[in-house]
Amino acid sequence: MTLEFSPEARQRAETIIRRYPPQYKKAAVIPLLHLAQEEWGYISAEAMAYVATLIEAPPVKVAEVATFYPMFNKEPIGKYEIQVCHTLPCALTGCGRIVKHLCEKLNIQVGQTTPDRRFTLKKVECLAACDRGPVMLVNKTLYTNLTLEQVDDILNGLE
């Protein structure tokens, strides 16, 4: 199967590539991988090959990058990606409780996806909101000063 961006994403890709000098198109690889992940939810080998054509680099160059950076999912994840910060300042303010609660509530362990593919639970490192811990990201939204009740409300609020 060959993948291709939607016309809209294609246009955004071109804007991104124009930000770099033409001889250094390869610099666009991270923003383009983000775009690919938005389009398809994760980065497949096909997606890597497609991004490679856009920046005129060998697919292995893209694979090298995609496999290094933690934000790129190499396999499909749930509709909602929940990432709880577990670095020291958040650990001091009780992120352990939040993680445990989420595990129990979603009935999965960290790193897993619920069988209905709605939720993926992950731990993440410092999100630069340490004064408002515990914190978590749900897809692109940051929630801060979390309590267990708030976590319930947030989960209930997601369709």
């Binding site: 930000r19 000098p21 250094y24 390869k26 610099a27 666009a28 690889v29 991270i30 923003p31 991988l33 983000h34 920046i55 680099a57 160059k61 090298e64 990058v65 496999t67 290094f68 950076y69 933690p70 934000m71 790129f72 577990h86 670095t87 020291l88 300042p89 650990a91 001091l92 303010t93 009780g94 992120c95 352990g96 409780r97 993680v99 445990k100 362990q109 960290v110 790193g111 992950k122 731990k123 993440v124 490192e125 410092c126 999100l127 630069a128 909101a129 340490c130 004064d131 408002r132 811990g133 990201l137 692109k140």
Partner: protein, 449 residues
């Protein structure tokens, strides 16, 4: 705190919608750019920054004017503003970018003009989704108003600035790792020398890498002059600084202060003291990589020089407060987990040393530590320090490990001798539970696959 001393944050706290360029301009925004481009020579801008004594706010505290003067005499040159902000306990750049993006853009324009740069990027960590969008909008507005692009304000100066997102790797904050990442590679830091960015940086060209807060300070220096800027802070640490308080403190948050404040006053007067009026046990004063301080070491000012004398570092100004319920083995285990996960894997002492430290600490924490483990930990530290490509090996690797062990040795020994935590039973320490829980699960995303 005297609000008139808050030179960086006052605007964004008092003026609503400052992120909109029209509001920003109404309040005098971009006048400095106009003044500098039309009335100052690039050398004059460099001189103002040098004279101001401004030191970089990205962690190392290197004088900004001096950094600029080291640029190799070649063109093109590039600018990278470092907004990777991944140092745990640091959240100042987020607040600045959220609250006052145009101030940072002004700083970037002035830096570019001063150094003959026509293309620059702000490297923003990937998790800052909204900030990246907002910054893209801010740049677009600046282009529309003619502050970016070709022939800016009719002065003949051209400049393009763009955002560049990261994707969740801490090491992209290290300046040469950032450059590799921007070029589209794995962010393996480069060997210095020869790869000092000022000599051989982005695409092999002379490059300036400066922190977000540094950029905002540059705008202030050019707006008000070096002498005005020096009127804040001390000779060693001019201007104001953004200090972040987090952990077990009553009033966590970001505070703009002068470095004359002592760490004790920062925690007790500004932060309201320890949460629940518990006893203070330990403080990490400058981002998690900085060596830890004990409660009797707090009468030190937040100046870069004084911090160094106290055996720690001012770093990013992020202060972590820990109360008496914290097990130091536990806390260090958390830090070592971070170090293990974020080592880029390029050089052996760091790639192998971090997991080794982490494993030994886990063993001690679980009550299976051996007498010789403490010496072994220090020995591993010794063998990492100075033997790695970048400073990551030391911070957050060696420095926290060594300082925790040296300053809280009895706690480590008790763990080993009594085969258990002596601070609190498992069920009462969230921090401890957190680590115990983590053992069984595959949280370490394969880094070197």
């Amino acid at each position: 705190m005297d609000a008139s001393r808050c030179i960086l944050t006052r605007e964004m706290e008092t003026i609503p919608n400052l992120t909109d360029i029209d509001i920003y301009i109404q309040h005098g925004g971009y006048q400095t750019v106009e003044k500098a481009l039309k009335m100052m020579k690039p050398e004059e801008v460099v001189k103002a920054v040098t004279d101001s004594g401004l030191k970089g706010r990205g962690g190392a505290g290197f004088p900004t004017g001096r950094k600029w003067s080291l640029l190799a005499n070649r063109f093109p040159r590039y600018l990278c503003c470092n907004a990777d902000e991944s140092e745990p306990a640091s959240f100042k750049d987020r607040k600045l970018l959220e609250g006052n993006p145009h101030r940072v853009i002004e700083g970037m324009i002035l830096t570019s003009y001063a150094n003959g740069i026509n293309l620059g990027y702000i490297y923003i960590r990937g998790e800052f989704f909204q900030i990246i969008e907002q910054m893209d909008r801010a740049f677009a507005q600046a282009y529309e108003r003619g502050y970016l692009g070709k022939n800016i304000l009719g002065t003949g100066f051209d400049l393009d600035l763009y955002t560049h997102p990261g994707a969740g790797a801490y090491i992209c904050g290290e300046e040469t790792g950032l450059i590799e990442s921007l070029e589209g590679n794995r962010p393996y830091p480069r060997l210095k020398p020869p790869y000092f960015p000022a000599a051989i940086g982005l695409w092999q060209a002379p490059t300036i890498v400066n922190n977000v807060e540094t950029m905002a300070d540059v705008a202030l220096v050019v707006e008000h002059g070096a002498d005005w800027f020096k009127g804040f802070g001390t000779e060693d640490s001019t201007g104001s600084r953004l200090f972040g308080l987090c952990g077990h403190v009553k009033k966590p948050g970001l505070y703009e202060l002068e470095s004359t404040i002592t760490l004790r006053s920062l925690i007790y007067d500004v932060g309201g003291g320890v949460r629940g009026d518990k006893k203070l046990k330990a403080v990490i004063p400058g981002g998690i990589s900085a060596p830890v301080l004990t409660p009797d070491e707090l009468d030190v000012t937040m100046e870069f020089g004084e911090m160094a004398k106290a055996g720690t570092m001012g770093g990013t100004g992020g202060v972590v407060v820990m109360d008496e319920t914290v097990c130091m083995v536990d806390a260090l285990l958390n830090i070592s987990m971070f170090a293990r996960h974020e080592s880029c894997g390029q050089c052996t002492p760091c790639r192998e040393g971090m997991p080794w430290i982490n494993d030994m600490l886990r063993r001690i924490e679980q009550g299976h530590g051996r007498q010789e483990d403490i010496d072994l930990l220090l020995d591993v530290c010794f063998n990492i320090e100075g033997r790695t490509v970048c400073v990551f090996g030391q911070a957050p690797g060696v420095w926290p490990t060594r300082s925790f062990i040296v300053k809280y040795l009895p706690e480590f020994q008790a763990h080993i001798e009594q085969h258990k935590c002596v601070v609190l039973p498992v069920e009462e320490s969230y921090l401890r539970k957190e680590n115990v829980e983590m053992l069984g699960v595959g949280v370490f995303r394969a880094k070197n696959s």
